[in-house]
Amino acid sequence: MTDSRRLERRYRRLLAFYPRAFRREHEEEILSVLMATAANGQQRPRLAESADLLKSAIFMRVRQTKVPTTWEYRHAGVMLPVRLLTGTWLVFLTAVLYGYGRGGWWGVLLVPSATLQFYIAYRLRHPRSEQPPG
């Protein structure tokens, strides 16, 4: 196998981290850029390059993740109080645990969960400005 075939295969392995839809549209295109910027006889992706691809892939996956989901927007009337109650309940639980000196590491789990609940509840308050299509 030639150097360039080997390099291409390794690049493809990295590109596999991108979301499927993005790969279908852009894999060949990015690959042509990567191969064009590669040095002669280069066999493996450079470290900084790999890190950049991974970062970009993760970024795109995170951006695709919708919080709250479309389903929640559609049922905002019910979901808003549910999220608020869940958040309040988690805060209450945290307070009780720490009040009795049993908090420990539970805070690591409870505090972010409660924050997330309130964040989603807040987003659901403005369904018109944030409504995703469909």
Binding site: F22, L34, D52, M60
Partner: protein, 112 residues
Amino acid sequence: MTKRAMQEATFLILTALAGGSQHGYGIISDVEQISNRRVRLRAGTLYTALERLRADGLIEVEREEVVDSRLRRYYRLTSAGEEQLAEEAARLQSNARVALARLKPNAGVAST
């Protein structure tokens, strides 16, 4: 879109496309030249930016070509993209002018 300052990479990519349509590798080399070899975009960063610019309607795909069995996709600015770039360039220019004038009041007066 918000009136937040544009990231430098984004600004340079739009500037590269302001001269005419280009494909990915063309943008990378052009950005390197525009920035006097200071900014060398990596493929991942470039495509993250292109994807967002396309979603925001600032750029669009002009055409595709296959050269040496490699796909090249050419991008160009939309009119919204031109507008946005002009706005940002004017903003940077006005900030830079004030900065230079305050650093060297006499030079600022002499040059304008």
